[in-house]
Each structure stands twice: as structure tokens, then as C-alpha cells.
């Protein structure tokens, strides 16, 4: 079992309100990812769950019992740190066995568990080495091994992959996912990388300035962001935003600003009935823009001037100027365009997002 419930969690560091009223229910066997920009309180939240940081107010419970006052050792959790925190004076074997020794497991049991974990992670050959004789990826595995030998109720990960190079990070990400499928232990994972969050998480918690912005499955966040911040944070390249005024003409709604004038598709128009004459923020993802053609006459279209062309092989990123706004489109690699070309682009109608200008909440 490994059910974690956060109820009204707050954390103050003197005058800094680092974590603000976080409520979250994490189910058994779930992989939950906390994601957000630097300094948003992810690590602090994780450390409060681990018991390394006192909770200013609120309750954390694991499997139904409140653990606020419990020492880290009594919470039956395991944590993997960003810098691995391997014990430098102990061999890999002893690093992995330390937690079991502290908990007074018998020697044969310790040996069996360490070797099992080493097999799972493919570090059987390294057991006699010291941490300084290992590569970054190997250290990462040892740190994981040290967490899994104990069969804890919950795994906590604090940016475990951020010290690895890009290629290794992708590889370890897949392995982490496999490991979770195999062990089925509840995992709480902190990262600032939205790709990691999207690929690893059963559910993703987006945080900003200590406040939870949205909790949801990865695609839910991608398709229905709750506010402008989530919309901009999830997805790469980031979503394009333009502030427009909503007006009515011939029974349909028009969104326009200095360089943009589009007829809003029905679904969006229905939501914006109450905003006629007001400003809203329009959002569209680069991958939802296409070069306009005859195929889709009812798509909202607009003109843009190409400023930079970025060839990525599988796609082309176009940095464009649309009136006063700068937008990015990700188009088919077969499109032939040059800098300073004028291009007509179409938006996929269902992919339009609109946000309140003031509250930035999705409308």
C-alpha cells in the first residue's frame, strides 16, 4: 500500500511562503510528477512528505494515518536525491545494504535483496566498487537500487535525472518507467522538465510560486490547461499567445488585434458569448498551426511574416511576426519557405484556447 494524502499543506521559511495550501490525493501504485519552474516549491513539498522539513500547517497522511510528527525513518519511504547522495566511504553493496542493516534485517535477507535489486538495475558487477569509481549513470542506478531494496511504501524522487547528459536522461527515463511498472510502488517525482513530467506521470501536478495550478493526466493538461501558465508550461515549443478583442459580426464572433482577424469556430464562440467587446488571450500551440490550403476552408486563418526558419529534420519551426505578436509554428518538413516570406496559416479549430486577460484562467 502507498496512499499519500496532502491536506492544506503550507510551508513558511521565515517570511517566505514557499508552499501554499496544497491539497492532493495520491492513489496507491500511482506515479505522480510535480513540475514547475525553479523555486516554485516542488522540493519543499517533497521534503515535507519525506519528513526532512517541518510542516507549517496542514496534514500529510500515508495509508490513512497522519505522519506529521513521524521521523523520516518511521515513514517507510525511500528518496533519491538530485546529487545521488551515495555514501562515499562505502562500497556499492554497502550503500544498498545500509538501510536494511539499520532496520536489523538478517544477513541472508540483506544479501538476497541487494542482489535482486542489482539484477534489476544491471549493476551486479559494480557491487564492490566505491561511488567515486562509477560514472554518472551508474551512480544514478546505485541510488535507485538503494531506494528499491527496502521495498518502501512510497518512492520520492527529487530531479534524479538532472545531472545526466541528454541522451542518458532519455534512457534512464524509460528505465524508471519500466521499473515503476515492474514494482508498482507509489512514486512521487519532482522535475522542472515538462517532457519528463508528461512521459513519466500517471498524473502531473503543475506548481507555480507555491500554488498548485492544475492536477491531471498528461493529456488532460495538454488539451485542457486550466490557465495560461499551465498552457505555456506544458508543450514544446510553448503555446503562442495573442491578446485579442472579441466582436460580433453577421452572427459569428470575431477575434482581432492589430495584425490578426479571425472568425472564431463555433465551440470557442459559444464560450466567449459573454465576452463580446472585451479583451481575451487567445492561445494556440505551434503544432496546431498549418500552412493554409484549400483542404480546410472553415479553419481560422491569418497572415504571418517569417523571421527565422529552424530545420529540425522531422519538422520545421517557423518564427513569425503576426502584427505585433511573435508566434511559432511547427510545420511539415516538406514545406518550402524562406525568411521574410509572407505565409497564410490556418489553426485547427478544436485546438483554440482562450484565457481571461486578468485572471489568466481558461474560459
Amino acid at each position: 500500500m502507498g496512499q499519500v494524502v496532502l491536506k492544506g499543506i503550507n510551508k513558511f521559511y521565515d517570511s517566505v511562503h514557499a508552499v501554499k495550501d496544497v491539497n492532493l490525493q495520491i492513489r496507491d501504485k500511482e506515479f505522480v510528477v510535480f513540475v514547475g519552474p525553479s523555486g516554485c516549491g516542488k522540493t519543499t513539498t517533497l521534503r515535507m512528505i519525506a519528513g526532512l522539513e517541518a510542516i507549517s500547517s496542514g496534514d500529510i497522511s500515508i495509508d490513512g494515518s497522519v505522519v506529521n510528527g513521524l521521523a523520516p525513518m518511521d515513514r517507510d519511504i525511500a528518496m533519491v536525491f538530485q546529487n545521488y547522495a551515495l555514501y562515499p566511504h562505502m562500497s556499492v553493496y554497502d550503500n544498498m545494504a545500509f538501510g536494511l542493516k539499520m532496520r536489523k534485517f538478517t544477513r541472508p535477507e540483506i544479501d538476497r535483496r541487494v542482489r535482486d535489486a542489482a539484477d534489476i538495475l544491471g549493476i551486479g558487477e559494480l557491487l564492490k566498487r566505491k561511488p567515486r569509481q562509477l560514472s554518472g549513470g551508474q551512480r544514478q542506478r546505485v541510488a535507485l537500487g538503494r531506494a528499491i531494496v527496502r521495498h518502501p511504501r512510497v518512492f520520492l524522487f527529487d530531479e534524479p535525472l538532472s545531472n545526466l547528459d541528454a541522451k542518458l536522461r532519455v534512457q534512464m527515463r524509460v528505465e524508471l518507467k519500466k521499473l515503476h511498472l515492474r514494482l508498482g510502488t507509489t512514486a512521487i517525482y519532482v522535475t522542472h522538465d515538462q517532457v519528463e513530467a508528461m512521459t513519466l506521470g500517471d498524473r502531473v501536478v503543475v506548481m507555480k510560486d507555491g500554488v498548485v495550478q492544475q492536477v491531471g493526466e498528461p493529456l488532460e493538461l495538454y488539451n485542457r490547461p486550466a490557465n495560461k501558465f499551465v498552457a505555456g508550461f506544458i508543450g514544446s515549443p510553448t503555446m503562442n499567445f495573442a491578446t485579442v478583442t472579441v466582436t460580433e459580426a453577421n452572427g459569428s464572433l470575431i477575434a482581432e488585434n492589430a495584425g490578426l482577424r479571425i472568425r472564431l469556430p463555433d465551440g470557442t464562440a459559444r464560450r466567449l458569448r459573454g465576452h463580446i467587446g472585451h479583451k481575451v488571450t487567445l492561445g494556440v500551440r505551434p503544432e496546431d498551426l498549418t500552412v493554409a490550403g484549400a483542404a480546410d476552408p472553415d479553419h481560422p486563418c491569418f497572415d504571418a511574416v517569417i523571421e527565422v526558419v529552424e530545420q529540425l529534420g522531422s519538422e520545421i519551426l517557423l518564427d513569425m511576426k503576426v502584427g505585433q505578436d511573435v508566434m511559432v509554428a511547427s510545420v511539415e518538413p516538406t514545406v518550402r519557405v524562406n525568411v521574410r516570406d509572407k505565409l497564410r496559416l490556418a489553426m485547427r479549430p478544436s485546438s483554440l484556447h482562450v484565457f481571461d486577460v486578468k485572471t489568466e484562467e481558461a474560459i
Partner: protein
């Protein structure tokens, strides 16, 4: 290293290095040579025919023999060793715990307390020995090794604490946190993780503390009076300089023999732990 022509290497590296070594090692050379030179040569006037202060053709063990047979040098050695070892041990234990507490336990005023402790180290001993002498007298510890074993920590503990604070701060706090999640109590985390990782720091603090107490002069001079209680620095200077008569041979032999244990301690530990001294904590 210095790039370019060979003469540059000589001019900017070997020559300054040689001068530096000469400057540094000459006193030791002088000490060694004086301690094996017969008295006849030592006290020969400088304008005599075969005056040669830098070398001797008739080395002798007389001074060393004199030291062990006519003076209490063996007792002084033993006293110094005993006092230095015990006071170092006391200071190291206190310093390690205090340094750990000051750098790791977040209690109010930890920072200013640390600075305060260091400031006590800066108070000159030439002032402190006056009140300390009063205390030693009241506890009737004068003229016993305990007068030094208990007073040396007054400067050794601040020194060790300060050194260990710095060292413990360099040990990543995640190591300890990880141990505590792994099931260790705060005490066990310190014992099994933090202290083993800090061993190089503890050793260097120990070496420095040992050297400081081995060479200490003022307290030893003030608190010890009978010849058989004295330490090497005090014994040698008080028993081998009578008025304005310097027994140069035994004096230098005593200085030489007195510095050998410290030299051994240094070379042994530096050899084995120099990697540790330059910090290899990040595993």
C-alpha cells in the same frame, strides 16, 4: 608549469625554489650540525685558523648522551607526549561534537556562537595565563601534567571546533538526510555517515592540535616548576640555558629530538591522507 625556453624555467622556477628551500631548511641544518659537533669546535673563536661553522669532521653523540644521562630529557619527552596526546584527544572529541552541532543543528544563534568560539581562540595566551594560573592554584593542580591537560583545551577546542565546522559544512547534507530516511537516527547518521566521511578533517585537526600542544611554551613555563614535570620546550630552555651560559650542543640535540615525533606524525598522515585534506567528499 612555466612554458618556453629552458633558461626561463631555471630563472623562474628552479632558482627561486632553491633559494626558498635554502632559507627554509638552513635552521634545521644548523640544528643538526650543532647537535653532533664536539664542544671544542663549538666554542672555538671565529678568528682561529681552522674555523669552519658549516661542517664538522668529528661528529659525536656526546650531546645526546649528555641529554639522556645528565638531564631529565627522557622524562620531558614522556611528559610532552602524554600531555599532548591526552589534551588532543579531549579537544578532538569536544571539537567534533561541537563542530557538528554548530554546523548541522539549526538552533538559534548557532552562527554567532560559532564566531564567539573562534574569538576565544584569538585571545592571546600571554593574557589568559594570569587568570588560569589562579584557577590552577585553587584546584591545587600546579606542577602536575593535569594543569596542562586541562588548560590546553582552552585554545585547542575552539581551534578544532572551528576546523570541524568548516569540514562538516562541506559534507553534503543530503548524505545525512538520506541516512535518516534509510532508517538511521540522527545519532547513527552522525556515527556511520558524517564522521567517517569527515575522517580526513578530523585527522588534520588532530595533527594540528597535537603540534600546538607539543610546542606550547607559556602555560608549560608558568604551571610547571619542578624539573621532572617539565615538557621538552620548557625543560630544554630552562635547564640547558643557565644564566647567560648556553649549552649549545645539548640544546640543539634536545630541539632536534623534540621535533622528531611531530615530523613523523606529519609525514605519516600527510602521506596517507593528503587526498583527504584536499577534499574528496563529493563521492
Amino acid at each position: 608549469m612555466i612554458e618556453g625556453a629552458i633558461w626561463r624555467k631555471w630563472a623562474f622556477f628552479y632558482l627561486p625554489m632553491a633559494l626558498f628551500l635554502l632559507f627554509l631548511l638552513f635552521p634545521f641544518y644548523w640544528m643538526v650540525i650543532t647537535s653532533v659537533r664536539p664542544d671544542g669546535e663549538l666554542y672555538r673563536p671565529w678568528n682561529s685558523v681552522n674555523y669552519n661553522p658549516f661542517w664538522t669532521w668529528n661528529p659525536t653523540w656526546d650531546h645526546v648522551r649528555y641529554l639522556f644521562e645528565e638531564t631529565l630529557f627522557a622524562a620531558w619527552l614522556w611528559n610532552t607526549m602524554f600531555i599532548a596526546l591526552v589534551s588532543t584527544a579531549i579537544s578532538l572529541v569536544c571539537g567534533v561534537f561541537a563542530g557538528y552541532a554548530l554546523s548541522r543543528l539549526n538552533f538559534p544563534f548557532a552562527g554567532s556562537l560559532g564566531t564567539g568560539i573562534f574569538i576565544t581562540y584569538l585571545v592571546p595566551q600571554t593574557l589568559l595565563f594570569i587568570p588560569l594560573a589562579e584557577i590552577i592554584r585553587n584546584y591545587r593542580l600546579g606542577d602536575t601534567p593535569w594543569s596542562l591537560i586541562l588548560t590546553y583545551p582552552t585554545f585547542l577546542i575552539p581551534f578544532c571546533t572551528w576546523l570541524m565546522m568548516g569540514y562538516f559544512k562541506a559534507v553534503p547534507k543530503e548524505l545525512e538526510e538520506c541516512a535518516r530516511i534509510d532508517g538511521a537516527s540522527r545519532w547513527q547518521a552522525m556515527l556511520y555517515i558524517v564522521i567517517p566521511v569527515a575522517i580526513p578533517g578530523i585527522l588534520s585537526a588532530g595533527i594540528f592540535a597535537f603540534t600546538l600542544s607539543w610546542n606550547e611554551f607559556i602555560y608549560a613555563l608558568v604551571f610547571l616548576s619542578s624539573p621532572e614535570q617539565k615538557t621538552v620546550p620548557v625543560g630544554v630552555t630552562s635547564e640547558l640555558i643557565r644564566g647567560d651560559v648556553f649549552f649549545w650542543g645539548p640544546l640543539m640535540a634536545g630541539a632536534l629530538l623534540g621535533s622528531i615525533p611531530v615530523a613523523i606524525a606529519y609525514s605519516f598522515f600527510v602521506e596517507h591522507y593528503v587526498a583527504g585534506l584536499t577534499g574528496s567528499v563529493k563521492g
